[in-house]
Symmetry: C2
Subunit: 344 residues, 2 copies
C-alpha cells in the first residue's frame, strides 16, 4: 500500500502530467467534474493544491443521473464540500435511463452523453477553458482491456485520451497515470471524506468484473499490468497520431467532391489497408461532418465493398451514412447526425 | 467442436491465406517443419492436398532439441511418416540446453535459434524457397497475450508474422488463422496419428498457463477471444507497416554518417515520439546491421538521452550498440552481433 503521506509526490506527478500533455498552460478557469467518489474528490484536492502555482479559477460541477436512490445525497455531499472550500458549485440532473431508451444507447453511453453535455454547458457559462475529470490509471487499464476483449482496431486501443476537445472545451484527465489505491490512501491520510458508489460492486456490469476479477487475476502474471496496459494505450496513440499526420496528403489524394464524396478506386486500391481505412474514415467525416459510431468493422465492410464488391453494391454505416459502389469509385453520402442536446 | 469432415474447407481456407499473404506463388520447393505434433502433422497433410494445384515440391525437416527422453521416438515417427508419404526427410539435432547456457539465452529462445538455423540450412541444401511452420491461431493469440502482459511497444503486438524473411528463405505460417482444435478434429476424422508433447501440459511454462488457464478464462468474456487477439495483431501489423513506409523519408532526414551514425538533434526533437523511436531504431540498424534485441524500453531510454540528457551521456543497447550524446547530436556506434551458427 502507498505511504500515507503521498500528497506532495501525487501533486508533483500530476503537475508533470499537466505539463507533458499540455492540459493547462496556467491562468485557466477549470470546471472539475465531481461525483463525490474518491477519484474526483482527490482530483479536486490536487487541483486546489496547484491552484496558486497555475493561477487557476476552479468551479465544481456535479451531475445527477437520477439512477440511484442515494443520488440526491451524493449531490448534497458535493454541494457542501464546494461550499466548505469556497468554490462555485453547479448542479445538473437528467434521467439517464429514459435518455438511453429514447436514443437507443446503452445506459452507460446515455449517462456519459448527458453528463458531458452538462459539463460543456457549465464550462460555457463559467467561461472555462477546461473540464477536468477524475479518470485514473485503473479506468484506463479497464478501458484498454475491455476493448481488447471486445475486439477493436488500433483506434480503439488508444483508450481514454489525457486531453480531448469536446464541444468547444478541453476535457483533461490529470489523474490518468495515478492508481486509484494511491488516491484513497491520500484522502484517508488527510481525513478527507468521499462517497462510495454501491453500483461499483455490481458484477452484472462488465467494467466491474474486469476491475474486481480479471485485472487482479492478470496481476498474477504481471503485478504492474495496469501500468503496462496504460503505456500500451499511450504508445498506440502516438503511433496512430504519427500515421494520421503522415497519411493526410495520401488520403486526400484519393478523395474528390463533397456531396457525395468520391473515393477514387484506382488510387485507393494502391494504398495499404491501414491507409484505406483512414481514407474511408476521412470520406465519412467529409460527407457528414463526423465519424461518430463508425468503428473498425464498418470500415472493413466498406473496404470489402471496394475490394470485392460490384457496381451498385451498398454499405450502410451507423449514424446515417451510406457508401455506394459506382464505376471506378465509392460514393459516400452522409446525413448529419442530429446533435442531441442536454435537456435542462 | 468442428465437424469431422472439415478437410476440404480447411484446405480452401489455407489456400486463401497463402494467396492473401503471398506465401507461395506456385512451383516452389517447400521445407515443412514437422515436430510430429498435431499442428505440424496437419500442416504437412494440408500442403500435400495443395501440392498438385500449387505445383509444390515438399521436403520434411525434423529438429531434435535433445530435451526430452522421447525425442528420439518423435524423430522416428516423423521419419516413418515421411517415408510412407514418399517425401524427402531431413533430420537435425542440437543440444538446446547447452546452447542456452553458452549463449545466455532462454531455453525457448535457444531452441528456436537452433531450429531455425537447421531449417534454413535444409532449405539451402534442398534449393527451397520457403520453410513452412505449423503455428496456429492459438499460438498467435498466446503470443499476443503474453506480449500484452509483459508490456510491449506496437512492434511487439504484431505477434507471429504470417510471412517473414529469415536467412535467405521465406518462413511461412499457412495455419496462422486455424484453431488447433480444428486441426486435431481433421486428423482424427482422417485417422492420421500424431505425437503428443507432454511438456505442453507443464504449467511451469508461461505459454502453457496462458493456453490452459488464462485464454479459457478470457473466453468467458469473449468466446472468440483468440480470433479477436489475432485480428488485433494483424491490424497493428498493417498500421506499423504503413507508418514504416511513410516515415522512411522523414527518418532518413534526421540521420547522417555511418560510423558513427549521427542523429541530428535539432531535427529529431521536432518529430513526434513514434517517429523518434523509428529514427533511433533505424540508426542502430545502420550502425550495426541489425536491431536484434532492441525493444521498446531501449528506444525509450535512448529517447530520454535525446530529450533530457547532457553532452557525454550514454545509453547502452543490448547486443553491443552504444549511443553517446554529443553537441547537437546522438552518435550511434554498433559492434555487429556475431552471427551464431548452428553447429552440425
Amino acid at each position: 500500500l502507498p505511504h500515507v503521506n503521498e500528497l506532495p509526490s501525487l501533486v508533483a506527478g500530476v503537475r508533470h502530467a499537466i505539463d507533458r500533455h499540455r492540459m493547462l498552460a496556467g491562468g485557466e478557469t477549470v470546471v472539475v467534474a465531481v461525483s463525490g467518489g474518491a477519484d474526483s474528490t482527490a482530483l479536486l484536492r490536487v487541483l486546489l493544491a496547484l491552484r496558486a502555482e497555475l493561477r487557476l479559477t476552479i468551479h465544481v460541477a456535479h451531475f445527477n443521473h437520477l439512477l440511484r436512490t442515494d443520488a440526491d445525497a451524493d449531490a448534497a455531499f458535493v454541494a457542501e464540500m464546494s461550499r466548505d472550500l469556497g468554490l462555485p458549485y453547479h448542479e445538473g440532473r437528467g434521467a439517464a435511463r429514459e435518455h438511453a431508451e429514447r436514443t437507443k444507447r446503452s445506459l452507460e453511453d446515455a449517462a456519459r452523453h448527458l453528463r458531458y453535455a452538462f459539463l460543456t454547458s457549465v464550462a460555457a457559462r463559467a467561461g472555462a477553458e477546461a473540464v477536468a475529470t477524475g479518470h485514473t490509471l485503473d479506468d484506463q487499464a479497464e478501458t484498454v482491456l475491455m476493448r481488447l476483449l471486445r475486439g477493436t482496431g488500433a483506434h480503439g486501443l488508444v483508450g481514454i485520451p489525457p486531453v480531448r476537445a469536446h464541444g468547444g472545451v478541453r476535457v483533461i484527465r490529470p489523474l490518468l497515470q495515478v492508481p486509484h489505491v494511491v488516491l484513497e490512501a491520500v484522502l484517508r491520510a488527510h481525513n478527507v471524506a468521499w462517497r462510495e458508489d454501491p453500483t461499483n460492486r455490481d458484477h452484472a456490469i462488465l467494467r466491474n468484473r474486469v476491475r474486481h476479477v480479471l485485472l487482479p487475476l492478470l496481476e498474477g502474471y504481471n503485478p504492474d499490468v495496469r501500468r503496462t496496459l496504460s503505456r500500451l494505450a499511450e504508445v498506440v496513440r502516438e503511433e496512430a497520431a504519427a500515421l494520421d499526420a503522415l497519411a493526410a496528403p495520401v488520403v486526400n489524394g484519393v478523395l474528390t467532391g463533397s456531396a457525395p464524396v468520391r473515393v477514387v478506386l484506382g488510387a485507393f486500391l494502391q494504398l495499404p489497408p491501414a491507409l484505406q481505412r483512414r481514407a474511408l474514415r476521412e470520406a465519412v467525416r467529409r460527407a457528414r461532418g463526423n465519424v461518430q459510431g463508425v468503428g473498425f468493422v464498418h470500415l472493413e465492410g466498406a473496404r470489402r465493398l471496394a475490394l470485392e464488391g460490384r457496381t451498385g453494391g451498398i454499405a450502410e454505416l451507423p449514424g446515417g451514412a451510406r457508401i455506394v459502389r459506382v464505376r471506378g469509385a465509392l460514393e459516400v453520402r452522409g446525413e448529419p447526425v442530429p446533435q442531441r442536446r442536454y435537456a435542462r
